[in-house]
Assembly symmetry: C2
Homo-oligomer: 332 residues x 2
Amino acid sequence: MSNIRDVAKEAGVSVATVSRALSDPEKVSQASLNKVHAAIERVGYRPNMLARSFRSAKSYAVVVLVPDITNPFFSQVIRSIEDRAQQKGYAVLLGDTRGLPEREKEYIRRVETRMADGVIQLRPDQPGNPTVMPSDVKCVNVCGCESTTGPRVRIDNRGAARSVVEYLISLGHKRIGVISGLKDNPHTIDRLAGYSEALEAAGLEFDPALIAEGDYTTWSGLNSAKQFCHMDNRPSAVMCMNDEMAIGAIQTFKTHGLKVPENISVTGFDDISYARYCDPNLTTVAQPAEEMGKLAMDMLLRLIEGQELAQQENVLPAEFVIRKSTTVPGNK
Amino acid sequence: MSNIRDVAKEAGVSVATVSRALSDPEKVSQASLNKVHAAIERVGYRPNMLARSFRSAKSYAVVVLVPDITNPFFSQVIRSIEDRAQQKGYAVLLGDTRGLPEREKEYIRRVETRMADGVIQLRPDQPGNPTVMPSDVKCVNVCGCESTTGPRVRIDNRGAARSVVEYLISLGHKRIGVISGLKDNPHTIDRLAGYSEALEAAGLEFDPALIAEGDYTTWSGLNSAKQFCHMDNRPSAVMCMNDEMAIGAIQTFKTHGLKVPENISVTGFDDISYARYCDPNLTTVAQPAEEMGKLAMDMLLRLIEGQELAQQENVLPAEFVIRKSTTVPGNK
DNA sequence: TTGTAAGCGTTATCAC
DNA sequence: GTGATAACGCTTACAA
């Protein structure tokens, strides 16, 4: 493999000139520039980025920490991060942690060992399982919650959940069930707060029996929904805290002979791509995944370049999308 | 930041010993080992991987090229690749090409410029849009086809499609439609070949009117299915070349008042997670995504380490999963 | 505008 | 087993 010295020799200039021609062409005469480029072509030179990164102590890579890349919402955000990173000349190191703190640590270590310049984390901080982020590691959180600290971009989960419930109430629903994530998950906490607020504003009572706990998987939605089917005083609508659980819940309701939405309305959260193709098409909250990923990457870049952040927190608007899985309360 | 010299000084040994203690502990006495580790602890040393990679001319990273990370099948394969890479001490650089040759090139360039040691490519080679892979770039293809060259792991697409059609024929179906991918896509070619083979073996005639072209998106499945709804002699079953198109097709059939599977059977391909939750649960071909990713990574590792491959091609078994979207032909 | 040369932090090659 | 030291390919003062 040819190196910068070979190019210099071939072009009849010094290595410094070649280096400058590549990274700071302004500082080089047109004549030298031409010679250098011709020489690069002739010897088939490819700059060694490892050497460049090493020398300049910047890896031009960022780690994306995600609990599960197969989650369709996460993968949308990641695609957007990757797109922005590519535009800016950065590489994305994929860090699928599977929710394991030790794997998270291994990836954070990659920035401590200079393989990456920073971290974008795609999850809310769990109380029992907090991320240990060394203070010198640049990090921005995306998809977090009200309790998330540090630079972050998120939506107003509480407000979005409140909108959902307000809409259901406006349709005439009085008993509104919830399929939540795990109780101590910050998303669950924020969205449940929004649910309670809407209820209270409408003068409706909060009934703990109406809260079924899931864990954001389709399977858990499918299971949790069962407890509503056999209830004496069944809710006429169920707000699910993500689309996967909503899809599972709908399946359960159907197998129990309940029609969605005629017998029971169902809403989701996230607006994953299947939301518009499932039966019935899902009423849900669309998170601006594209925008969130892009903004998070831009924030991290600013951090890496040592600039100040205009604001630590960016709360982006979520859109409530009404489709076919909700209607006025009907026959039980 | 402390470096290897600081550790050496602190431990009272040479830098060479520190280096050896870290990368080849066998060659160092227990006494030195202890001194070194204690010193590392005291000075808070983190080895500079950029320097290590630079010096040893190995980046310990691989690029994963994928047309679209949000495709649930691809993301499953990638998760498995990442898992294996992590186990082996390699990082995964995400290369979402969005099907753009120029982005593909940029990522391949990363291995030419030493930022990565090799490439795993997740797509079949397109005739009009072939990947230009320099001969010195180690690469293994996963999810390819019969026409794919170079080291590769794939399933027998033709055989799998034949199994699907044979099953439909065994149920009594005589007119079997297809929603295919783009005509020149190698997956389409292989799967269509399997379809034809099964028809021929059963003495059924191939009718071009029964082939609707899509492009592997849900939306295209939704659209292509329409042409079957209005047909005089409607097929009693439709084989879709992936799950997304099957889901789209089912939606179209339903809105046209056709019951699936009572009026029309539908099959998919891939077994994405949603296949078991859509209505009706989808009969489909399960690709061993996990195994494919792992094997591809292992092959690439062997290539990077300069070892011979036991075989250039690994064809893994696919499993035909019968669910609720297929039944015997019924009323039109 | 250009060239010379000193590193960057590590590993590898020698001696000892 | 260990230590001195020369690379690795590049960037960047500093000098010309």
